[in-house]
Symmetry: D3
Subunit: 269 residues, 6 copies
């Protein structure tokens, strides 16, 4: 099974990381890569909003990475893989899988900004006995020296919210201000935790948090982003066992299609 | 089991067509007629918005049609049935069941306009080896010479969207403009594919497509439609196996109640 | 299992009433108290919106009441319990459990106003052979002489809507007008039937009714309530068997956290 | 929806009692009557084991009784109904619905023996505040003066097992001995709690208890019963919400078909 | 996704036919091929009972056939495919997919015996308006002139059972007698409808029928079959939507592994 | 929530380890401890087979251990806990949680025999990048110098089955021979992987393997064990997300009740 429209080769490389080993509440994100691909097959390759078609984009689907149960090893395995490809488009897995992707990209793009869609701050220093927990992923990325632009964060500890206010590299913006905010950025990576969205739109996730964003608004903003250089993106925390109707997987598939078409889709037909 | 408020007779005739034989992704719409009736029993017969009550409307529930597995035969069987009734209110089944209803009505109402609520264009010429696939239903209806007013279509191939733009009989309107658009129509049939709605409101459908309409907006527009002559309507593509909480069936039941009360409900109490 | 942040003692007392004995359609609300507590453990204790934390509030979780199958006995058992505590925060159970709480409070607070969030009027005189049905709960409360402020009611019989219009003690208000409306009230009790919300946000309930409110709006109004004296609240009709993704239980848990913090949470940190 | 093969009239009368108001653990038996009928439609009317066909039996399906939420009232309503029919074949509902059927039959058949298939003794005097709980049903029947033959009971309190040993009217027999045991009985009523069967064969029930009987053995014994006069039977405690694959409903439907054909099926074809 | 142990080439060819277009009750068998492969990945390649390992067998997995919605076309498409391979191992799909495989094989092996494991006779002449329904598949095969050995059939119409008794080419045998019965056969094809098994062991099927066989017995007989020449086999009617725990898919995967190892597995290690 | 019948203190200590961090296929065993306790509440405390009652046994329920996501840390945390109690009765979690229990017990009981009920050999040296995987647990225990008696193992690699044959400390016995085999043992620990049972009886497990044992046989053997000194036991690999009807959790609860009553239940009443 490959993502709809995937070619035999291309510099944009979709891959799955079926990992949820540090999930503290409800595991299941490991089933997301295949689940999202299955639903992608019932999306059209054509986007009416962008008037572009996946059939004219060079991207490939490298399948899933077999990773270890231990987060430290998983991090190395994912980084090794990303070192060898050009533009990563990752389907998680829980959010901990984003760290190795960013660590790899940071070596090529020193001036890297992470746009972080999420309900949760993910800024803890350690959690469940490991520094590589999904709950620590943005803290680790911060330590790499990336700028973080957070969108939709509405849950965290008092300490995490204090850090957001005080740390010079993090900033919380309203989604409406995102296009303006990205005007001057050099290299951008998007990490979309599906629980950014309201649980009404994305029930299939481990830790749903009420009061999130809507897909209509998300796509409108996406279509209006300035022409920054996007070096990759991921969609994480989709959990098929909690997605009985498939609407979350379908949303993830559409996000991937629209982001590929927006960032690397070439001219409208 | 009958739809709530149904009488022993009446010119408005509810019937179910438990058919999903050409469904290409996830079958299940065959269970919709009984599923919607079951939920209708927990709706009130009274509509506070319209201040009307089903108890004062003459409509009946004819049960389900037993149809063949082959789409060509199903089309004939449904058309035969509709030929014998006055005002059809059909609960699908997948969308292919709409074609025979319209073909039957077209014989009585030459100047017929179809209002088509849907996420998908359904304008393919052939699909899965048949011209009577759910994915071809609007194309077939177009060939009958009906005018098509599409609302909510947000998925299709490039060719389908080209056809929408170019064909003189089809037109895509924003739901807000629907009342104005219908001002001058003579005879109107409504076909409501439940995936018109955002999957948040109608997860129980075979092929959910993000970014759809909301029930609040739908009913507001419905209440404000001009007094056109409505010759029937259907609600299709509800799929109980993907509706674990029942909210999609309940929405379908409410659509049916409100449409019956709006179109044939007589004076407010 | 206790609600997150609960202490060993405190005048605010959370308790569950796992009762759904008069439910006419789909039982399951009996599983809500434990279900909501389970999800509360994956909420943070900190509310970024209120900048308050449950760790600084004195409230306790008394567990679940073991109640009889007969509604008359259940009513007595719940009232007996509430007589012995100071500020009740109840997790239902179906809506019938609200009556004994209010009956107990009415003895202490003569001038008591009930804010009733619900899709259904719940104003029948008798239902399924009992006066203590969930469908009669507001009628019974009315008989106690409480003022009722209804928010979100969109389903009922013609008679119920007539009663709302005509009875001097009931009033239906738009949620936007609630802060203004409560300005002058002396003692207020909130009863939140989770089906107040649109089924998109709260699918896990016995009788979902389309076209409800959104959590974003609910919390905004909550945050802006005037400083009335709140003597307790409940969240009822959450039904875990119809909540496969858990989003309804998570919403209920967040409502409880935010209401406790808003009403009894002291100073922001 | 009617049970497969049901006629417009007949002295054998199938009816459903969708009642689970005293269920202490997991409600859902209220959905059994319609659930069993739905599966019956995918059974053949012909029994190869008995070489008989439902098409040659005069039996009818009277639909479901609408009963009150209160067990005392439900008991009266069911008894009233059974008083007016000849041979009751009831689909429960929880086990409490058996008491009114037996109370009605006892008036006609003084010398009545109840064959009770069940995992649980159901011999408590009171439970959840009522004497009409499902957990008390055999105790109530015992008080009517019926003889009880229990098969498969493997769960209960020490007191219940003591009662079984000591009470002159109850007796626990191995299923293999049932044909012999019934040789001399005059009038027999069968009550089959579906949890008699091992949960492997009947998972869809409120309180599954490991180590039950198998359908193969059950039907073999049934086919070999002596020609006693059977005055009715019931199948209770099927719970569709816990029967995701439908195997429990299908088993119940087959039990009903085979029992009707065995007891009142006339000559083999 | 490929079946565990599959090689890049080999004369034994696994393929899936995701077709359930004539299913009259509960569709879903279309999801079986991928579902069985997914579970096969959690089987070992080694069979302790046979002391053989898939790693030493030359077999390949050709993926799924994309077939039309119309049964007539599907039959041609499957036959075309089977004409081009040597030894077919098919994962259905509903049972109608077996006919084209046998029709293709019959051209090479004139003296062909079909061993038919099933709960249902599948001997109707026409069903749901088509002669290629799953309910007619054995009737069609019979018309090809194959000998049919039925095992486990326990449901059908009186006419079907009469046909079994009277037709010279069909025979119903007890599974215990199968090894003896196959002693003299020249070419054998096995078709295993998963509903042969008791629903306890294989709940995930469209039309479960109580009182079926057990896997332990099935495998014991399989291991003891005489060395007949097996020209292919299939496993059909596995329905993932009704298999929430996956036990049916796992059973199907094990049947495929054990049959491949038994028939074409070479010498024990 | 505590296990039914648990006291405030006692030397027999039930505890849960909600850990499934190395699960390679389908996680979910983390939800077992609370799931099994929930079902235990609907078991009676009395065992008719043993004529003993939990009310007369001194055992306590210590709740769940909060463990790290990393297997190495989890192993230390569990061992630390077991060091401090007398007789451990553990509810897993995946099978990896057994190793630390045995490691702790081995310090007190040098001559320790492990009776290992399981479908899988669990004898790999390393898996998914860790030596503490569930798939390695018996290998690790072997290295501690314990004798292993395996019952029900029917899946593994060729190497694992070779090890079973050749290693002097492991032995595979038929369950019927277990009482005889344990005659001479000094100290015995039982570890029951629920997938020992046939998936028909225990579908709710991560990796079901066909052809397992039955509960009836298991309990018969248990009741007939010789009076060896049992130093603890565990039940692992119950996975509630794959146990929609609850039958697996109920079986686990009954195993725990019967084992406690058999080993430490004192005199029959």
């Amino acid at each position: 099974m490959k993502f709809i429209g995937a070619k035999d080769s291309g510099k944009v490389v979709i891959f799955g990381v079926p990992y949820d080993g540090t999930t503290c509440f409800r595991p299941g994100a490991r089933f997301a890569p295949d689940g999202v691909r299955f639903f992608s097959e019932n999306l059209e390759t054509y986007s009416p909003a962008l008037n572009r078609d996946l059939s004219s984009v060079e991207f490939t689907d490298a399948g899933n990475l077999e990773v270890s149960a231990l987060p430290e090893k998983m991090v190395e395995e994912v980084e090794d893989f990303v070192n060898r490809i050009e533009i990563p488009v990752m389907i998680g897995g829980e959010h901990s899988v984003t760290y190795p992707v960013v660590r790899s990209l940071k070596k090529s793009y020193n001036n890297l900004t992470i746009v972080h869609f999420d309900a949760h701050a993910d800024l803890r220093d350690e959690y469940s006995g490991t520094k590589f927990s999904h709950a620590c992923v943005v803290r680790r990325i911060l330590e790499l020296g990336c700028r973080i632009v957070q969108v939709g964060v509405r849950s965290g500890t008092r300490e995490e919210f204090k850090l957001i206010k005080e740390h010079p590299l993090i900033e919380k913006v309203d989604i409406k201000d995102l296009p303006q905010r990205l005007m001057e950025e050099q290299f951008v990576y998007f990490t979309v935790d599906i629980d950014y969205f309201d649980p009404a739109f994305a029930p299939g996730t481990g830790t749903p948090e009420p009061c999130g964003g809507s897909p209509v608004e998300f796509f409108e903003i996406l279509y209006n982003l300035p022409p920054v250089k996007v070096v990759g993106f991921d969609v994480v925390e989709v959990s098929p066992p909690y997605d009985p109707s498939g609407v979350t997987r379908m949303l993830a598939a559409k996000i991937i299609r629209e982001m590929i078409l927006k960032f690397w889709g070439g001219e409208p037909c």
